[in-house]
Amino acid sequence: VTLHNPGQVVVYPILDLRHWKKDIRFYLEKLEQVAIDLLKDFDIVANRLSDKRGLWVGQKKIVSIGIGIKKWITFHGMSINVNNDLKLFSLINPCGLNIEMTSIQALTSQDINLSTVKQRIQKRFEKNFLGE
């Protein structure tokens, strides 16, 4: 079970991995790096955990990742908690794990503009996937 609500940015790249590398982990790590770089812009240090997907700040999850690949074309992607209502997550058991979620707003106590986040994601995406 997962949950999407207003204030999350959902990134759903449709890429032909044959242009990069036919490697699921390569793609996941690139995608994670986009979010790690984005969060760094907000002075948030997010980490990968070896046994759980997604990105974490301490024991709290800030980015959820779930991807699909058909004929090396990607679908699904990741959702980044920006300023969404985190209370809703208590209604579900995210990803089958008994975990707590956090968001950029919860960690920075700032009002975060979603369109600024989207622009930054685009830049981070270009840097990681196109080397620009």
């Binding site: 590398k21 490697d23 996941l28």
Partner: protein
Amino acid sequence: MAYFVVLPELGDDIKEAVVVGVCVQEGDSVNADDDVVELVTDKAVFNVPAGYSGIIKSILVEEGQEVKIGDPLLIIE
């Protein structure tokens, strides 16, 4: 002529995956492009295409089964 459809290479560090769905039944006719088995690894869902056109002769895996790279998934004739 019978062909084995095997779990292809999914990346440098990936050695196995779990079958989450078999999209065909024995006796089905498939095209090379048709997806036949759905697997999950690292929270990534990956669809394996038949690779050959023909009739599904035998399904060698079931839902929930862990398979390794190179393992046969089904036989197409």
